[in-house]
Every structure is written in structure tokens, then in C-alpha cells.
């Protein structure tokens, strides 16, 4: 696209290849612009933006209570991001994280329930035996719930965006059925939330963090290797770039799309397993469980911002994990209006998505050197070559 303003030509072109530093620079710019924009809003409600931001950073990254919260949230967001990244490598959109997360959570709690976990927090159950079972059930359930849209897409060309969204909403109500009004997983005392997991069945902690946190970091490396170095990863990419070419190369569309959605679903499931069975203070399906479904969409944004790169998703996930907790704390401490934490997050996300989109284009402003005007004089013939 080219526009001419005054003596300048402004050209917007799609970059042939977007380098990693374009993306990184765009993200940093997006953060700065967002902080500036929201800063104006803070000034308007009579708060000092610098104080606000320093409170958020102090709480999210430097405080004893905030740091683990940041790490746990970031892990949840990161795993949700992986569940977008794997299908997207094959050109398919998974926005079914909430459904897959709760499919896994219900399965894990189902295993616990079967072993009599609902009776008391001190139930004598062997964690060594049951925790792995819970993990397997969780991953199986979310992989299957994830695989449904993948299979339908591969086999029948059913639009996966619509199906994953439908499955999300169906799951929200299935969870409601399980934990409300006398549902089987309803808490021992509280209406509208799940029973608390017995101490023996909680995800083990290492250095005060659930092992799932370390697993997520290892998985980001493994996933990168899988996607870039293995034959299957190569096939997924080929399919993503051109389904038709992949078909000629003997890659089965149904199998690939089912597979990427199953893997994606399993990652989302692990996110649910991590948060509801591993994070200290939770250990149940909480009342505001649907918020976690929405929270998992931060993973979607993280995956988009990281441009499908599992390692690059780590800092983005930490940013969202930290800001989401820190902003809520700051809002309480400085007595600001409810919803201002959403404001900060919302602007941050929009700016990051917008700058990512812009980073794909290069903007060139060139001064138009006036083409040497042919100085025609009466009777003189026109100069043929422009370069005289």
C-alpha cells in the first residue's frame, strides 16, 4: 500500500519474514504505550501512575505472597498458550481451553471421588497411587474433549472455532451441574463449589511451588523440540502451511487435526490440573470457576503475542500472571475503583495484539525525489532517457 502525503511517500508492506526482534520490540513498545495510556486514566482518578506501577511490581514480583501467585498464574497461562500453539501450527484454531481445562479437572476430581476423597480432608488415601491416576484421567479427558473438534474438522470440515466455543459453554454448565444444588462434587459445607481435595492428593510441592510449574518449563523446551526437530512436528507444520500439499505428501488430514487438538487439549487439561489440584489455597473447584475459563483466554493472547513460539510465551505468560494479580492487589491497597485492574490488562492485551499485527508490516517513509522534470522547450524534442 502506498500513500503520498506532501513530498513523502508512505509505504506499508508486509514483511517477507518477521524476525524475532521485530516481535520483541513490538511487545516492549506495546507495554510502554499501554502504561502511558492507562497512566492517563490513573491520573484522572487521582492516583500517581508511578506509585501504581511500583505497587504492582513490588507485589507481583518482589513480595513473599505475590511472587508464588505470579508464578502459579503464569504457569496456568503458559500451558493454556501451548494448547493454542500446537493446533495453530497446523493452521487450526483452538479456543476450547476453558472446556478442556474443566474436562481435565472434573476427571481428576472424579478419580479422587471414586477413592472416597469427598468424605474428609484427612481421608487416608495413598497419594503415590492416586495422584498419577488423577493426572492420567485429567490428561485423557482433556485430550478427548479437545480431539472432538479436531476430528470433526479433519473428517467433516466442521468449523473448529464454532465447535470449540460450543464445547466451552456446554462444559461451563456441566461443571455447574457437578458442584451446585447437590451435585456429586459439591463441597462438604459450601454450596456452589467443589469439595476440597484431601491433603494426601494434592500435587506435591518443590521449593513451595507445585511440581507442575517445573513441568511446564520443561514442556516448553520439549514442545519446541517436538515442533521444530521431529518428523511429526514437520508434518504438522507442512499441514498448516498447505493442507493440499500435505495431502499429496501422504499426510492424513483427519489424523493430523485430531492429533494436534488432542495434544492441545492435554496442555489445557494440565493447566487445570495445575491450578485446581496444585496451587496452595485452591485445591478445589472454586465458586468463581468460570473466571478461570476466561482467564485461560490470556493463554490465547499469549500464544498470539509469542507468535506460536513456546519459549517466547514464557515471558509473556509471566507478564500477564504478574499484572493480573498485582493490579488487583494495588486496586485494593490504593482504594481505586473496581475494574481498574481489568482496564490495565485489557489495554495491555489490545496493544500487544495490535503491535504484533503491525510488526508484520514495515512502514517506509521516503522522500519523493522529484523526477527530473523534462525541461521541454518549444521545438525541442523530448529526451528519451530519464537519466541524462
Amino acid at each position: 500500500m502506498r500513500a503520498v502525503i506532501g513530498g513523502y511517500a508512505i509505504r506499508i508492506e508486509r514483511r517477507a519474514d518477521v524476525r524475532w526482534w521485530h516481535t520483541a520490540l513490538a511487545s516492549v513498545l506495546a507495554i510502554l504505550v499501554s502504561l502511558f495510556l492507562v497512566g492517563i486514566a490513573f491520573v484522572r482518578v487521582g492516583a500517581d501512575p508511578l506509585e501504581v506501577y511500583s505497587e504492582i511490581i513490588k507485589y507481583a514480583f518482589l513480595s513473599e505472597f505475590g511472587l508464588p501467585q505470579t508464578i502459579n498464574r503464569a504457569t496456568f497461562v503458559l500451558l493454556a498458550a501451548f494448547s493454542l500453539i500446537v493446533p495453530l501450527r497446523a493452521g487450526l484454531w483452538n479456543i476450547g481451553m476453558p472446556g478442556q481445562i474443566f474436562a481435565a479437572t472434573l476427571a481428576a476430581f472424579g478419580v479422587a471421588y471414586a477413592f472416597g476423597a469427598k468424605t474428609s480432608v484427612n481421608a487416608q488415601i495413598s497419594g503415590v497411587l492416586v495422584i498419577p491416576l488423577m493426572l492420567l484421567a485429567a490428561l485423557a479427558a482433556s485430550a478427548v474433549y479437545g480431539a472432538i473438534p479436531g476430528f470433526l474438522r479433519g473428517r467433516l470440515q466442521v468449523n473448529e472455532i464454532v465447535t470449540t466455543m460450543m464445547l466451552n459453554w456446554a462444559m461451563v454448565w456441566i461443571v455447574a451441574h457437578m458442584i451446585r444444588e447437590g451435585g456429586p462434587f459439591m463441597g462438604r459445607t459450601a454450596e456452589g463449589e467443589g469439595f476440597t481435595l484431601p491433603t494426601a492428593l494434592r500435587v506435591p510441592q518443590v521449593f513451595d511451588l507445585p511440581v507442575t510449574v517445573y513441568a511446564a518449563v520443561v514442556l516448553s523446551v520439549l514442545l519446541t523440540v517436538f515442533l521444530t526437530k521431529t518428523t511429526l512436528g514437520y508434518r504438522i507444520r507442512t499441514f498448516g502451511e498447505s493442507p493440499r500439499a500435505a495431502e499429496y505428501a501422504g499426510i492424513d488430514a483427519t489424523r493430523i487435526s485430531t492429533l494436534v487438538f488432542a495434544i492441545g487439549g492435554a496442555f489445557a487439561g494440565l493447566a487445570g490440573f495445575h491450578y485446581f489440584l496444585g496451587v496452595p489455597g485452591v485445591y478445589k473447584i472454586p465458586k468463581n470457576y468460570a473466571d478461570f475459563g476466561d482467564f485461560s483466554f490470556y493463554g490465547l493472547i499469549t500464544g498470539l503475542i509469542a507468535r506460536n513460539n513456546p519459549i517466547a510465551a514464557i515471558p509473556v505468560a509471566i507478564l500477564f500472571g504478574g499484572v493480573s494479580g498485582g493490579a488487583r492487589f494495588m486496586q485494593g491497597k490504593l482504594r481505586l475503583a473496581f475494574g481498574i485492574d481489568y482496564a490495565l490488562l485489557g489495554v495491555l492485551m489490545i496493544m500487544m495484539v495490535a503491535f504484533q499485527a503491525l510488526a508484520q508490516f514495515s512502514l517506509r517513509i521516503e522522500r519523493i525525489v522529484p523526477a527530473p522534470a523534462a525541461q521541454l522547450e518549444r521545438g525541442e524534442s523530448r529526451v528519451e532517457s530519464p537519466h541524462h
Binding site: 467433516l156 468449523n159 472455532i161 464454532v162 456446554a170 499485527a357 508490516f361
Partner: protein
Amino acid sequence: MSNLLIISLAAAAVFAIAALGELLEQRAGILNVGLEGVMLLSGTFGFIVAKTSGSYLEGFLVAILTGAAVGLLHGFFSITLGSNQVVNGMAIWILGFGLTTYIGYPYTGPLGLTPFPTMGGLPVFFFVALVLAVALWFLLYKTHLGLKLRSVGEDPSVAEASGISVTAMRYLAVLLAGMLVGLAGAVYSLVYNPVWSYNYLQGWGFIALALVFFSLWNPFFVIAGAVFFGVLWQLSLYPELLFPNVFSRYIWRAMPFLITIVVFVLLSTRWFRLRWGATKPEALGVAYQRES
């Protein structure tokens, strides 16, 4: 029973108007999967304006303008910049989800206006949807402009060669579609369920999107599908009207979403796909760059 039908038609109006908008732009080759986001934005802005001004008219106008603006934004990315339409649509959805959450938050609660008038007990906007369906059918199949709109959705380069501006036609399509979807957002937030809450749309935009795929891109099938989903939705809210004491009410709430998937699968049979393939706009979702 007649009660069920009436409230079903009220829900059908929202599904139908949004789906008619999406159908129009899909006919011109533009796929907007961010329908939910457009409806969230337009519904929220319409709600805020109506609540603060006390005027339905202003609320509807703002919603329609918002829908048009967001439609043009999606159009700018999809038509002018030629970037992936699904990515743009997702960005619009996320934008709507994030932006409405914090802009709308202080307005959480009921609209507080006198309920929108009905036509002898029947929902006004269902009739608006019927008129719009006929108008859209007439526009697309009986006018020269409609022929031009459809041709850029079938084969943009041939259309361009025969002197039709693909860019102009597609911008016209996203503008009109945005206005319709914006209207649908306002019908939901001002008339159907005039109470604003966080993420209030509950997936209706995605159901409307599904409806377009079911409809074989035919406006009248959109109306039929919308009535079907309207009934399904209301039955899930009031299952005791037909099936007392079967399942918990939460399982019923999950039904419309699961049945949408089942319908989707049934419609993907070979028989249907042959017809579906025959009516699907050839260039749907494909960016067009003019040779220059």
C-alpha cells in the same frame, strides 16, 4: 406453549439479525469469526448510552455505529492489509472481550428503562428480522448491486476484470454487515436481556456464526435456523415446560451448545456437503490483492 414460542421468537431475532449481517459479508468473501466481539462491543456501548441518556433511539444508533466501525476495522485489516481474516476476527473478539469488560464494568446491572414495547405481545425485532431477510434476499439476488457483491465473493479477479471494484464492494459489505451485527448486539442488550454483566453474551455470537454455515448462505434458511435455536435456547432455560424432572437444569443449559455441534455434524454428511459446496462463496476468507 404459546409463551415458549413468543420468547423463542425474541431470541431468534437476535440470532437472525446477527447471522444475516455475517451472511452478507460472507457472500462478498469476507469471513468475520469475531461476531461475538462485534456484538459485545455494540451491545455494551448501546447499553451505556441508553442507560445514561434514557433513550432507546440513541442506544440503538450508537450500537449500529459501533458495529459499523468495528466492521470497517475488520475490513481494513482483511481487505486493505490483506492479512489473515481468521486472525483478524479473533483479534476483534478478544478486543471486544477485553474492552467491554472494563468499560462496561461500572454499568453492571439492569438498564432501568421502561421495557421495550412489543407488537401485541410479539417481539418487534422478530418482524424486523423477517423484513431484513426479505430485503437481503432481494438485494443479493434481484439487484445489480447484489450481483456485484456476490461476484466478488465468488471470483474477485474475474469481477475486477469485468470492471467491479473488489475493494469498494467488500468495504460496502463489511459496513452493512457491521451495522446489522451492531443492531443485533443492541437487540440483545437493550431488548432481549437488558441487564449488563461481564461477558454477558454467553456465546450467542458464535451460535449466530454457526447459523450462517448451516444456512447454505440463504437468508430464509437463516430465519428458520434462528427459530430452531431460539426454541432450543428457551427450552434449555425452561425445560419444565416440556420435560419436567428430566436432568438437572444445568444439563439443559448445556444442551443448545451440544445440539449445535450435533446439527453441524449432521449437516456435514455427503448429501449436505454437495449442496453446501455448491453454495459456499468460492473466495470466502481469501484476501484479494489487485495485480498492479
